[in-house]
């Protein structure tokens, strides 16, 4: 007998006393917490991002290229990783070496790049979370991981939802997803939160709208 059959057999015997329950799970919890206007939801996103030490900026479409250029200069970034479908023009004013997100780059090559600029798939206000789904303007998962500085652009209010349930509805499980809530952190030393371990130690979120 294979282990598959053995385990499934054990499960079935273990459940011999149980009556089948086909009813739908009752869900009495809320879809979102509190009653907010769209603008208040965006404000809450900004607050919660900042609370977990992300640096939050707001700008219009016109201002974006100069803002990104300034953030890269302030950081003294010499090179930036660019997803294949990043909007033309976002990096128009940035005076840095562009490194394309390519399948054949090695992790060591990525490690030498200073920054990365991506868009996102959705942002969650209540938890201060941005979610990347590997879309063309976000690139492979690793490009937002290896460089130490991540600039993520969120289109507000279109890409912002209030709560986790609404975010899951918008996302596709067939895509590789990365949920990011603030920069890399740890609570492993005396259960105290410290920012900055393996992921980007600086996360800048630009609320564009």
């Amino acid at each position: 007998m294979s282990s598959r059959e053995r385990i499934l057999g054990r499960v079935r015997r273990a459940l011999a006393d149980v009556t089948p329950d086909e009813q739908v799970i009752q869900r009495d919890y809320l879809r979102e917490h509190g009653d907010r206007t769209v603008e208040q939801t965006v404000e809450l996103l900004a607050e919660n991002l900042a609370d977990y030490r992300a640096l939050v900026h707001r700008c219009t479409e016109d201002e974006l290229p100069s803002l990104i250029a300034r953030l890269l200069t302030d950081r003294k970034a010499g090179s930036v990783l660019v997803p294949p479908g990043l909007a033309e023009g976002w990096l128009a004013e940035a005076d840095v070496t562009r490194v394309a997100d390519r399948a054949d780059s090695t992790p060591h090559e990525l490690d030498r790049v200073d920054s990365v600029v991506t868009a996102c798939a959705v942002a969650i206000a209540e938890t201060g979370t941005i979610v990347l789904d590997g879309g063309p303007d976000q690139g492979r998962r690793r490009i937002s991981l290896v460089p130490d500085h991540h600039i993520c652009v969120v289109r507000v209010p279109d890409q912002v939802v209030s709560a986790v349930p609404q975010a899951l509805e918008r996302l596709s499980p067939t895509r590789p997803l990365t949920w990011i809530s603030g920069p890399s952190a740890t609570s492993d030393i005396e259960l105290d939160r410290v920012e900055g371990v393996h992921g980007p130690r600086t996360l800048e979120v630009v609320l564009l709208g």
Partner: protein, 492 residues
């Protein structure tokens, strides 16, 4: 400190030594009190916490009730998405599968995401025996590995270490495993985290094989979810060419939507955050993004035996948040090592004796590692009634009876050392069934109350060693009731 849990003494003995360690008690008190207050605040932010908890309980119960169906559905979905599913009935089989998969890649080292399942099966030691070196990459796991130590907490395995001890371990041990600690390393947490970043980066960048567990597996989509903070998880899940995930069969949720409950309750219960810094979700493999090969090893190792127990099976709802450890007065004082298992604290006291059986001294003693105060049940985000299961397991230890081990029905013998307790219970049962004898006995006890010893003799000595015997009243209650008509006459 030895790196293994084999041959651990029973809980009372191990705890007796631990409570005398003042550094350990100080470290644990500081850490658990910090997180307790933060967790309460994070939970209070959600007005529907009780409803989320109830939904979590229902989803997990429903899943367990149809576990066979959901396992098969998960297998189909993972396979359709390009993954390969393996089934492991016990720890040895899981270790063998993983070792074979690593060997097939031609690699002799792997990077690991913190995973309770691989700790449980002793994967690192098994790989070591095959000539494969496993690097732990979670900060706390790294501290434990470098210190040749054992984990003492589910979420923060190095919770028993303070910053000074961690600095010393990094200074003396990091060089043996790779990049040494920076010169002049101090004990500030930020510097310690930086040292870990530098030490591990070279390992992430060259890793060809990653090994993980998972917090959730979605049956309908085949999606696996890993919830973490540091980014070491993302490194291990995306940079290597081969990913092997070892996951307990109870980690399934039926639908994608079900994640909306646990992604709200898990971070707030464990690290007291609205959301943990990083959550990775993947379904099979993705072309040109992340590992090209994905293996899922589904692990039983005592879970189906636990499932067979009508009372005890609720322990399989556990999402490993560790809130029950952080509020437990026994854990706070005894520390995690005394539990003799990778699952310490209240959840460990009900999980280990079910996964491993109650044959060993340590497992038979674990259901007693509690004052039954109920704080663990109160904070559990999936409402596991831990005190109920503890009492149930105590009964099993004392009385023996039917159970399931490795899929087979067995009848457990009553444990040794509980003969006096059983005799006392038998005597009590007889006395309560014979009111005349009970009355005579109570009167005799009242009249001789001044002669009673303060401690019990013989086998009862251990019991009264840490407890006061209840004083016997001057007059039995029933006599008082009859004499005063229940106090109506105003008589005392």
């Amino acid at each position: 400190m030895s790196g293994t849990f084999v041959g651990m003494p029973a809980f009372p003995k191990a705890a007796h030594e631990a409570v005398r360690n003042e550094t350990l008690r100080g470290n644990l008190r500081h850490a658990t009190h910090t997180i307790r207050a933060k967790r309460a605040k994070a939970v209070a932010e959600l007005s529907d916490w009780a409803e989320l908890r109830e939904a979590g309980r229902r989803i997990k119960d429903h899943t367990l009730r149809h576990l066979d169906r959901y396992l098969v559905q998960l297998e189909e979905a993972v396979t359709a998405a390009g993954g390969t599913v393996h089934w492991a009935a016990d720890a040895d089989e899981a270790n063998r599968i993983v070792a074979d998969l690593v060997r097939a890649t031609g690699e002799s080292e792997v990077v690991k995401v913190k995973s309770m399942a691989t700790q449980e099966i002793g994967l690192n030691e098994a790989l070591e025996a095959e000539g494969i070196r496993a690097y732990e990459t979670d900060l706390a796991e790294l501290i434990v590995q470098l210190g040749r130590d054992r984990p003492s907490h589910i979420l923060v395995p190095a919770i028993h270490r303070n910053r000074g001890e961690i600095r010393d371990i990094f200074r003396t041990e990091m060089g043996e495993w790779g990049r040494p600690a920076p010169e002049g390393l101090t004990d500030t947490p930020a510097e310690l985290a930086e040292a870990a970043r530098l030490h591990l980066r070279e390992k992430f960048l060259r890793a060809k094989v990653g090994i993980s567990g998972a917090n959730f597996m979605v049956a309908e989509t085949g999606t696996l979810v890993v919830v973490e903070s540091e980014g070491n998880g993302r490194m291990c899940l995306t940079l290597p060419e081969t990913l092997i995930s070892v996951v307990g069969i109870e980690k399934i949720v039926p639908t994608w939507r079900d994640l909306e409950v646990f992604l709200q309750t898990l971070p707030r219960s464990s690290t007291a955050e609205r959301m943990n810094p990083y959550t990775s979700m993947w379904t099979g493999t993705t072309d040109e993004d992340g590992p090209r090969t994905f293996h899922l090893v589904l692990l039983d190792n005592g879970r189906t035996d636990t499932l067979a127990d009508e009372v005890g099976r609720q322990a399989l709802r556990c999402i490993r948040c560790s809130a029950c450890l952080n509020v437990c007065p026994v854990y706070e004082r005894a520390g995690g090592h005394a539990y003799g298992s990778v699952y310490p604290g209240p959840i460990g006291a009900i999980l280990s004796p079910q996964l491993r059986g109650t044959a060993s001294e340590i497992d038979a003693s674990l259901p007693y590692a509690s004052s039954l105060c109920g704080a663990c049940y109160e904070v559990c985000p999936v409402a596991i009634d831990i005190p109920e299961v503890l009492v149930h397991l105590r009964e099993r230890v004392v009385e023996g009876g039917p159970a399931v081990r490795e899929g087979n029905k067995v009848v457990l013998k009553p444990a040794k050392g509980h003969a006096a307790e059983r005799a006392a219970m038998r005597a009590a049962r007889w006395a309560f069934a014979h009111p005349g004898a009970l009355r005579a006995g109570q009167r005799l006890a009242s009249r001789t109350r001044r002669l009673h010893p303060r401690t019990l003799p013989g086998p009862g000595k251990a019991w009264s060693g840490t407890r006061d015997l209840p004083p016997v009243p001057a007059e039995p209650f029933r006599d008082w009731w009859q004499r005063t008509h229940g106090g109506k006459d105003g008589a005392k």
